[in-house]
């Protein structure tokens, strides 16, 4: 767990430094405002810097077991990570989410949702594909119809606009 804490700490340090650098570029307080937009973000950046440093510092200490690296041990490589089926599923699911967000504006809600749902269902199911497709398409059309007609909402029609829906 120490390595995880150290990783979180280093990430926090990086974020706080970037945040502080962006804060420094903010304009100074305008006339009539003694504080301006800078001080509060500056305090937050410093707070994260201190907390992250404390977290990293807490992972270094005398006689803490697990800190000394075992001979031959190292961070698990990408190949080792991908050998775990669960992690592969997660990476693939993230990939499908990226496809979903990318296709959303031009393919429309119904088509992109059906595509993403079908892809995600097939990630962990090797059986018949037709029921999965039917559920994905049916759900997407139902949700589109619900937002379009019942809630008078605005989900992008995309390719369904060709069918005047």
């Amino acid at each position: 767990m120490e390595s995880v804490h150290r990783g979180i700490g280093y990430l926090g340090l990086g974020i706080s430094l970037i945040y502080l650098a962006a804060t420094a570029r903010l304009p100074a307080a305008p006339l009539g405002d003694s504080l301006g937009p800078k001080p509060f973000p500056a305090l937050l950046g410093l707070a994260l810097l201190v907390l992250s440093a404390a977290l990293v510092a807490g992972t270094f200490g005398k006689g803490r077991p697990g800190l000394r690296r075992r001979p031959g041990a190292g961070a698990p490589g990408l190949r080792a990570l991908l050998q775990d089926p669960g992690r592969r599923s997660v990476l693939a699911a993230v990939g499908w989410l990226v496809v979903y967000a990318a296709a959303f504006p031009w393919a429309g809600y119904a088509v992109s949702t059906a595509l993403a749902c079908f892809g995600l269902m097939r990630l962990v199911h090797r059986g018949a594909w037709l029921p999965d497709l039917a559920v994905a398409a049916g759900f997407s059309l139902f949700m589109y119809g619900l937002f379009r007609f019942a809630f008078a909402g605005s989900l992008p029609a995309g390719w369904l606009a060709l069918l005047r829906l």
């Binding site: 767990m1 995880v4 804490h5 990783g7 979180i8 926090g12 974020i15 945040y19 962006a22 903010l26 304009p27 405002d33 003694s34 504080l35 301006g36 937009p37 001080p39 509060f40 973000p41 937050l44 950046g45 707070a47 994260l48 907390l51 992250s52 404390a54 977290l55 807490g58 669960g86 599923s89 997660v90 693939a92 699911a93 993230v94 989410l97 990226v98 979903y100 967000a101 959303f104 504006p105 809600y109 949702t113 993403a116 749902c117 995600l120 269902m121 962990v124 199911h125 999965d132 559920v135 994905a136 759900f139 997407s140 949700m143 937002f147 809630f151 909402g153 605005s154 989900l155 992008p156």
Partner: protein
């Protein structure tokens, strides 16, 4: 304000449109509670875009119905599948699933519904009694006191969440940083927008909530999906309790209701904490202590009363002080602000119908839930037949629809994916998400109070320690930040101390 406000509130609560949306809310809440993966906080946040054209009272009545409805529904999955449907039912699995394995699933589900009803109703009575005096107290709050109160709520939540107060505080600061994105309200200066017009309005809390809770949870489930799913017990037999069951349960129900309510009032200590505390009290002091964990009905009655009590209790600080007591009330607070309503005494004075309509609707909602859950629990249980591989993508489809409907912004969808990955990472690294969400909701108001305080004091930070109420709250904040690590340190060192005593004492 007195009986007239109560009567007005009841008249609002029983309006046909409000009754309809209350029913929809409790129904959706029960479904959300039964199905793992979609909690009440996410569900309420997804409903918000649909409520823009609604009367705020109706919208809040529906959202509250979703919240305490989920507490009812969560026990179904906990009892039949040994998996909590929502966080508040995690303790119910300990005895509830054992009861189901012993052929007593019906009794477990029945006592769960009855306990939830009693706790919900009792909690609503306490809410009616406590909310007004507490709101009156907040009249004395100036910017410094408001800042100190919000900081206390944030730090307490951060310290109580997760296994490391440091990580909780880091999550809190990260949430406050997210809240600074957008145009600074006082000066009109864009901050951290990196030239993007879409970020000028900041990052909506709905995007953060849906990303962290819904998408993050779904991604986490994909990791376990290939080898998941426990045995599901089929519901058979009578859905009722015996006289002996009631004799054993009424004390734990009463204890759980009160414990849950007062724990729920505390910021950051939600339904799951309340249920765990109640179970611990039962294990320590209850008549049932030797039976807990073996399928004791008390182990279902007490925690289920506690989680429902906490759900109602968390509304006390939200309505009176503008401080959410849980994730879901944090989202509801965000909704209140979106409707232009400011919690506190002014809410009770200027919108009595809204507040008392909401409170009184809970009496009706609890009756609806008892009537829904007792006869219809078998139908809800059938939802558990939906394989996760089908359910999880549908949750993502609902999430994307809800988020896009908020601002019609594609950037929001990318942010939801980003926060989903962040939420997954936070889960794996043991970083609590509740402090981050709370900070995003309160961040803007916290900064405004901070700046107003320093403007009043001509830039002197001593205003936070010279005002008596602010000083008291800052001291409490300090205690809540320091106490958990101190207690943990004490616990780690206690065995060594005992060893030294044994070595020193000549009589051993």
């Amino acid at each position: 304000m007195g009986s007239e406000a109560l009567v007005q509130g009841f008249l609002v609560a029983v309006q046909p449109s409000n009754l309809l949306f209350l029913f929809l809310g409790v129904l959706v809440g029960t479904l959300v509670g039964v199905l793992p993966g979609l909690g009440p906080a996410t569900s309420v946040s997804l409903l918000i875009p649909l409520t823009y054209d609604m009367d705020p009272a109706t919208a809040l009545i529906m959202m509250a119905g979703v919240y305490y409805g989920a507490m009812y529904g969560g026990s179904t999955t906990a009892i039949l599948v040994n998996t909590p449907g929502e966080a508040g039912s995690v303790v119910t699995t300990l005895d509830g699933y054992q009861m189901a394995r012993q052929g007593r699933a019906g009794a477990a589900l029945a006592i769960s519904a009855i306990a939830s009803f009693i706790a919900g109703t009792l909690g609503t009575v306490l809410l009616s009694v406590l909310a007004v005096p507490l709101a009156g107290l907040s009249v004395q709050f100036g910017p410094a006191e408001s800042f100190a109160l919000m900081l206390f709520a944030l730090v307490t939540t951060s310290s109580l969440s997760g296994d490391s107060p440091l990580k909780g505080l880091m999550a809190m600061v990260a949430g406050l940083m997210i809240a600074t994105v957008g145009v600074d309200l006082q000066t009109g200066t864009p901050r951290f927008t990196f030239g993007s017009n879409n970020l000028l309005e900041g990052i909506d809390f709905i995007v953060v909530v849906v990303g962290l809770f819904a998408v993050g949870e779904v991604l986490a489930n994909y990791q376990d999906l290939p080898r998941s799913a426990g045995e599901r017990i089929r519901l058979q037999g009578r859905l009722w309790i015996t006289r002996e069951d009631w004799r054993r349960s009424w004390r734990p129900i009463l204890r759980g209701s009160l414990v849950g309510f007062f724990v729920g009032v505390l910021p950051g200590a939600g339904a799951s904490v309340a249920a765990i505390i109640d179970y611990g009290l039962g294990k320590r002091f209850g008549r049932e202590r030797d039976r807990l964990g073996t399928g004791a009905i008390e182990g279902v009655a007490g925690p289920e009363a506690a989680n429902n009590g906490a759900a109602v209790g968390s509304m006390v600080p939200m309505l009176s002080l503008g401080i959410p007591g849980s994730n879901t009330t944090a989202v509801m607070l965000g909704a209140l602000m979106m409707y232009g309503l400011r919690p506190g005494p002014f809410l009770f004075e200027q919108n009595p119908k809204l507040v008392w309509g909401l409170i009184n609707s809970m009496y009706v909602g609890n009756v609806m839930l008892l009537l829904l859950n007792l006869p219809l629990v078998g139908i809800f249980a059938r939802l558990l037949n939906i394989p996760p591989r089908i359910l999880l993508p549908l949750i993502l489809g609902i999430s994307f629809a809800g988020v896009y409907a908020t601002h019609q912004s594609v950037l929001d969808l990318w942010l939801v994916v980003l926060f989903g990955v962040i939420g997954l990472g936070m889960r794996k690294a043991g970083v609590p998400t509740a402090p981050l969400v709370l900070a995003v909701v309160l961040g803007g108001t916290l900064e405004q109070s901070f700046r107003q305080s320093l403007q009043i004091s001509m830039g002197s930070p001593l205003i936070f320690v010279t005002e008596p109420l602010a000083l008291a709250l800052m001291l409490l904040t300090g205690i809540s930040a320091v106490l958990p690590p101190l207690l943990a340190w004490g616990k780690r060192n206690r065995p060594r101390a005992r060893g030294r005593q044994v070595a020193v004492s000549p009589d051993r």
